[in-house]
C-alpha cells in the first residue's frame, strides 16, 4: 500500500478486564470513583457519558483488580455492571486530533472483522478496548494503513516491547505527591458534543463519517464510547467545532442515515495531562469530587494514557477550571478555539 500515514507507535496493555456500568443519579460516577480509589485500584482506562438522567461507564482495570472492582460495585450498587475479562487496550499515537486517523483505524479493523468493545482518545492517543484474543490480528491490521518509524513489522514491534511493563510499574507505584501536578491544562471552546446511539451498527461502520470530518478539516477534541441505558446499545460521543455543525450533520446523515444522533450545543472541552494520570488510582476521583463541589454538570469524560479529558457546558467552564486549580497544581491554562 502506498497511501500510508506515518505515526509514532502503539502500545498494548494486557491482560485487563472491562467493566461496563449503567446507573442513574447526578453524583453516581463521583461516588463510584471514590470507592474505587479507596481500594487503590488503578484505572488505565475509564470513560463516562451522560445520557439524560443516567450514566454509562466503561472502566478498564488490570486483570489482578477485576475481582476487587466487581466486589466494590456489587456491595455498593448491586449487579449494575457487566464484565469482559481477558481484554486488552491498544493505544495508537499520535492522532493529532485528526479524524482521518480514527477513520483509517476503523477501516483497517473492519477489513479484519475486528470490532472494538470501547474506545476513547487522549490528546495524543486513540485507545481501543478489544478482546485479548484479537490483539495479534489488531496489531497486524495497524501495519496496513500506518507506518511506524521505530518498527517496520509486527515482529519488530513485539521486540520493542521488552521491559516496558516493568519500567512503568516501577514509577507508577511510587508517586507520592501531596497535590497532583498537571503538565498542561487545555480548554477548547466553541464545541458541540455529538452522541450517536449504536444499535446493531458497528463502531467501525460509523468510522466512515470520520473520514468526512477530516475532509472538512475538523479537529476531534473528544472521543469516547459508553454503554447506553437501553439494553444492548452503545453510545459513541465526540466533539466537533460548533461552527461546523451543519456540515458535520450532513456528513453523518449521508454516511449513516439510519443512526440516531443527538447534539448538545455549546460545550467546552478540558484536557489535563499529568504524570501517569491514566495509571494511578485516585486521580479521576479527585477530579470528580472537585467538579461536584463546584456543581459542574459533567457531560462526558475519558481517562486514558496520561490524560483526563472532560466535556462541560460552556457556561460552566470557569467553575470547572477553578475546581481543577483547587485540587491540582496547574502551571498554566491554554485556551483554544
Amino acid at each position: 500500500m502506498t497511501d500510508q500515514t506515518a505515526l509514532g507507535g502503539f502500545k498494548i496493555l494486557k491482560p485487563v478486564a472491562r467493566i461496563s456500568v449503567v446507573s442513574k443519579g447526578r453524583t453516581f460516577p463521583g461516588a463510584l470513583f471514590r470507592k474505587v480509589a479507596e481500594q487503590k485500584i488503578n484505572l488505565p482506562y475509564a470513560t463516562l457519558v451522560s445520557e439524560g438522567d443516567s450514566w454509562g461507564l466503561n472502566i478498564v482495570v488490570e486483570a489482578a483488580d477485576e475481582e476487587k472492582i466487581c466486589r466494590v460495585i456489587l456491595e455498593n450498587y448491586g449487579k449494575i455492571f457487566t464484565v469482559a475479562p481477558r481484554s486488552a487496550v491498544l493505544s495508537l499515537f499520535p492522532h493529532k486530533r485528526n479524524p482521518e486517523i480514527s477513520a483509517r483505524l476503523f477501516e483497517a479493523f473492519e477489513h479484519q472483522s475486528l470490532e472494538p468493545d470501547a474506545l476513547a482518545n487522549s490528546p495524543s492517543t486513540l485507545s481501543v478496548v478489544l478482546k485479548q484474543d484479537m490483539i495479534d490480528s489488531a496489531s497486524h491490521a495497524l501495519f496496513e494503513p500506518f507506518t511506524f518509524s521505530a518498527y517496520q513489522t509486527p515482529e519488530d514491534w513485539k521486540l520493542a516491547q521488552v521491559g516496558k511493563e516493568k519500567l512503568y510499574k516501577e514509577v507508577v507505584a511510587s508517586y507520592q505527591e501531596k497535590r497532583p501536578k498537571i503538565y498542561g491544562l487545555e480548554v477548547y471552546e466553541g464545541q458541540h458534543l455529538v452522541q450517536i446511539k449504536l444499535n446493531s451498527t458497528k463502531i467501525t461502520h460509523v468510522g466512515a463519517s470520520f473520514r468526512g470530518f477530516a475532509r472538512l478539516s475538523m479537529h476531534l477534541t473528544f472521543l469516547a464510547t459508553a454503554p447506553s441505558h437501553q439494553e444492548g446499545k452503545r453510545i459513541l460521543a465526540f466533539s466537533l467545532p460548533a461552527s461546523e455543525s451543519e456540515a458535520y450533520g450532513r456528513v453523518i446523515k449521508k454516511i449513516a442515515p439510519q443512526v440516531d444522533f443527538h447534539e448538545t450545543p455549546s460545550v467546552s472541552i478540558f484536557s489535563m495531562n499529568g504524570p501517569h494520570f491514566g495509571d494511578r488510582y485516585g486521580i479521576v476521583s479527585e477530579l470528580m469530587e472537585s467538579l461536584i463541589s463546584r456543581q459542574v454538570d459533567l457531560l462526558a469524560l475519558s481517562c486514558t494514557i496520561a490524560s483526563i479529558t472532560g466535556v462541560v457546558p460552556r457556561h460552566q467552564v470557569e467553575p470547572t477550571l477553578e475546581a481543577i486549580q483547587e485540587s491540582f497544581e496547574v502551571p498554566s491554562v491554554t485556551r483554544r478555539e
Binding site: P94, P123, A160, S174, Y175, K181
Partner: protein
C-alpha cells in the same frame, strides 16, 4: 526561536504532545520520538538544534542515549535537556534527579515538569 528544530523524546505520548504544542506555539519546529532507539534514528535523519530527553524509556534509556550523543563528535554540541524522574514525588527510583545531574546533559528538569520552566531552559540554551 522561529525555525529552531527541537526533538522531544519521551515514552509518554501525551507528555510529548503537551511539550510539542507548547514549543510549536512559540514558533519552533518539533520532532517527536517515543524511545531512545527511535530518537537515535530521528537524529540521523535530521540534526536537531536541541533535544528534550526523558531518562526512563524502554529499549534505550535517556542516560545511555545522552552519553552516546555527548561522546560522538558529530552530536556532542547538540544541547540536551534531561527530564529526570523526580525527587519528591517519586522518591525511590534509579532514575532520580541526582542521578540525572551526574550525566553530561546541558540542563536538567525534574518531573513532573512545568512547561514554563522547560521553555526558560530551552531559551537559555538556544
Amino acid at each position: 526561536m522561529t525555525g529552531k528544530y527541537i526533538l522531544v523524546v519521551d515514552d509518554d505520548p501525551d507528555l510529548v504532545e503537551t511539550v510539542a504544542m507548547m514549543l510549536e506555539s512559540k514558533g519552533c519546529d518539533v520532532g517527536m520520538a517515543y524511545d531512545g532507539v527511535e530518537a537515535e534514528e530521528s537524529i540521523k535523519k535530521r540534526r536537531p538544534d536541541l533535544i528534550i530527553l526523558d531518562i526512563m524509556m524502554p529499549r534505550k534509556d535517556g542516560y545511555v542515549l545522552c552519553a552516546e550523543l555527548k561522546t560522538n563528535p558529530q552530536t556532542r554540541e547538540i544541547p540536551i535537556i534531561l527530564l529526570t524522574a523526580v525527587g519528591e514525588a517519586v522518591p525511590s527510583t534509579r532514575y532520580s534527579h541526582a542521578d540525572g545531574m551526574a550525566t553530561e546533559a546541558d540542563d536538567y528538569i525534574p518531573k513532573p515538569i512545568d512547561t514554563e520552566s522547560l521553555w526558560a531552559a530551552v531559551t537559555n540554551l538556544l
